[in-house]
């Protein structure tokens, strides 16, 4: 059992490229920490630095009270699950799990106990003699987990372990990973670019962008109070609607509060309602319906605002300027081309500074 603490960790490649620009994260004992961000944000690099597969060029990585910067991966008391599982193709499932223990010189009887216990937990007992290529994707994934479990490490590291599975299996494995982690109570760090995985798994969510941490915290707290427009649009699907507060239409509705000068206004698609009324202090927008997406339980309405909006902070998942997504329950939706009016309550508005780097509490 161990804490993992990153203190202003940096990674600069020999070419001068700064992949990690000073990251501070503190993962408590037994917590599940998820690093999330778009591809190229440095989340995998950071995980590999914790594993010892990448060198640390600045700062300290502390696992269980021991600075591990110069320590070999094998001696860090960690286990890692890779995206492509990285099972040894020529070894049986049993040997895949036993290999690391044998290299440590553990007694064969003890290895057998551990592997069989892990196989039982992961429902692999019937396939211990098979080779990885005789297993399905989900089974390989479980073998990779088993290889990590038998080590009984201080920390589990997961590098996008579910991204090679199909959608249904991914959800099932996501739940399994969470249950397993709860039961073993082992500190875990999990990298993903899937915000849904991030939201559902994390005790602590770390949102990364461009080698920096944008926000750290409880996933729901981040969802409710995103610190920057990047986090606002990255966490939540479909992304938050972001618009400039400069146009008179919006400015007038926000008048009388600090909000009017904020710069960027964000409203989540689910916080809109199609209505002719404007809640007190809220914001209402007239829209022309451009497209409808019905997914069963809910419907997404894509509308465009009358006036061409100014482009707001370039972020992943950003909507084209002037486009607004509204999420309504059920399948009832206005016709394409219809003029509608949507409104959001005062408490559901998110305000950011003009550069999108700072949240403003009205």
């Amino acid at each position: 059992m161990a804490n993992v603490t990153l203190r202003s960790v940096r990674k600069t490649y020999p070419g001068g490229f700064e992949a990690i620009k000073g990251v501070d994260v503190d993962v408590g004992d037994g917590q599940f920490c998820v690093l999330v961000g778009p591809s190229g944000c440095g989340k995998s690099t950071l995980l590999r630095m914790v594993a010892g597969l990448e060198t640390v060029t600045g700062g300290e990585i502390d696992i269980g009270g021991r600075v591990v910067n110069g320590i070999e991966p094998a001696d860090r008391d960690i286990a890692m699950v890779f995206q492509n599982y990285a099972l040894y193709p020529h070894m049986s499932v049993y040997n895949n799990m036993a290999y690391g223990l044998r290299n440590r010189g553990m007694a064969e009887a003890e290895i057998k106990t551990r592997v069989e216990e892990a196989a039982r937990v992961l429902e692999l007992s019937a396939m211990l003699e098979r080779k990885p290529r005789q297993l399905s994707g989900g089974q390989r994934q479980r073998v990779a987990m088993g290889r990590a479990i038998v080590r009984q490490p201080k920390v589990f590291l997961f590098d996008e372990p579910l991204s090679n599975l199909d959608a249904k299996l991914r959800i099932a494995m996501r739940v399994e990973i969470r249950k397993l982690q709860r039961r073993l109570n082992t500190t875990s760090i999990y990298v993903t670019h899937d915000q849904l995985e991030a939201m559902t798994l994390a005790d602590i969510l770390v949102v990364m962008n461009g080698g920096q941490v944008e926000q750290v915290g409880n996933p729901l707290a981040i969802y409710e109070k995103p610190a920057t427009t990047f986090v606002a649009s990255f966490i939540g699907a479909p992304p938050m609607n972001l618009m400039s507060t400069r146009p008179e239409e919006i400015r007038a509705q926000l008048a009388g509060s600090a909000a009017a000068d904020a710069g960027i206004l964000g409203i989540r698609p689910e916080d809109f309602a199609i209505t002719d009324q404007t809640p007190a202090g809220g914001v209402a927008l007239p829209l022309t319906v451009e497209a409808i997406e019905r997914v069963g339980a809910e419907t997404f309405v894509y509308g465009s605002r009358e006036q061409e909006d100014q482009r707001v902070a370039a972020t992943p998942g950003e909507l084209p300027p002037g486009e607004v997504i509204v999420r309504i329950p059920g399948t009832e939706a206005p016709a394409i081309g219809a003029k509608i009016r949507v409104a959001a309550m005062r408490t559901k508005l998110h305000l950011f500074s003009g550069d999108g780097r700072k949240r403003i509490e009205a």
Partner: protein, 282 residues
């Protein structure tokens, strides 16, 4: 592939049979000739049916040799060829897999220049560097020895390149998983990389064994003693006789014997060989 119907299929088969006949007929002649009497062959009256001297000829070939030119039992020549071919094949695989491992998995000064040096030797086969190579081997007193026969042919850029290509397709995560599992460079090589290379090694072995077995120019140069000559040299020497009739049955028997080990290697290792060439799953 589309199944061809009727007539077209017969034509295809006829063409294939003609091809087989063209390839197989000389081999057949060699086998037949090795069972005939020399006098019949020499005056051109050889029958196309097997003669009655099979055991006699092969016994003499393997254990005694020709009476005139070489006076060396072909059994001994085959042993020389076998040792040489095995040394070349095994040596090449061992050297090249190790150098490919170094080039792909280690960061050391002048890594790329060294890689290019190995690459450049592709342009320098034994035939090109024959004089300096001979000089070195002679200075090292390796003439008329297995070391002299095999060492200069062992260094191989081709095999190194092949293993390099293969290693580069092995996912990096396997190395990383090994590192986390506490396997050092040697363990990773031995426990993971070698077993994964098994089919590649088998395919290379087949090619290199035949290459080694068929060596002619180099053994011709550096073997002077009769008991060190390889079978390929032996055949050549048997044909040229100065004052006696060429002993054709023995020459043919030697040729047949010379074909056997390569055929054996190909037949035995065919499955691995094909898998080594086509397998993609890591």
């Amino acid at each position: 592939m589309v199944e061809e119907e009727g007539f077209r299929r017969y034509v295809a088969h006829i063409i294939l049979w003609i091809g087989i006949a063209i390839v197989a007929f000389p081999v057949y002649i060699a086998i037949i000739a090795s069972t005939q009497e020399n006098a019949l062959i020499a005056n051109g009256q050889m029958s196309l049916l097997p003669g009655g001297h099979f055991f006699e000829t092969y016994y003499q070939t393997i254990f005694v040799g020709t009476s005139g030119s070489t006076r060396e039992p072909v059994g001994n020549m085959m042993l020389n060829s076998l040792i040489t071919a095995l040394l070349i094949a095994v040596g090449k695989i061992a050297i090249s897999i190790i150098s490919a491992y170094a080039i792909v998995y280690f960061r050391f000064p002048f890594r790329m220049p060294i890689f290019w040096l190995i690459f450049i030797t592709l342009m320098l086969p034994v035939e090109v560097r024959i004089y300096p190579t001979y000089k070195i081997v002679a200075d090292l007193h390796m003439l008329d020895s297995y070391a002299g026969l095999s060492l200069p042919l062992i260094a191989s850029a081709t095999a190194t390149l092949l293993f390099r290509q293969f290693f580069m397709t092995v996912p990096d995560e396997l190395l990383e998983a090994s590192r986390i599992d506490g396997a050092g460079p040697f363990r990773f090589f031995w426990d993971t990389l070698l077993p994964l290379s098994r089919t590649n090694m088998a395919a290379l072995f087949v090619i290199l064994f035949i290459l080694g077995w068929n060596q002619y120019l180099w053994p011709l140069l550096i073997t002077t003693r009769d008991d060190m000559q390889t079978i390929q040299i032996g055949i050549r020497k048997m044909i040229t006789t100065t004052d006696a009739l060429t002993e054709w049955p023995i020459v043919m028997a030697t040729a047949v014997l010379a074909m056997l080990p390569p055929v054996f290697v190909v037949v035995v290792m065919q499955k691995l060989f094909v898998r080594g060439l086509v397998e993609t799953e890591k």
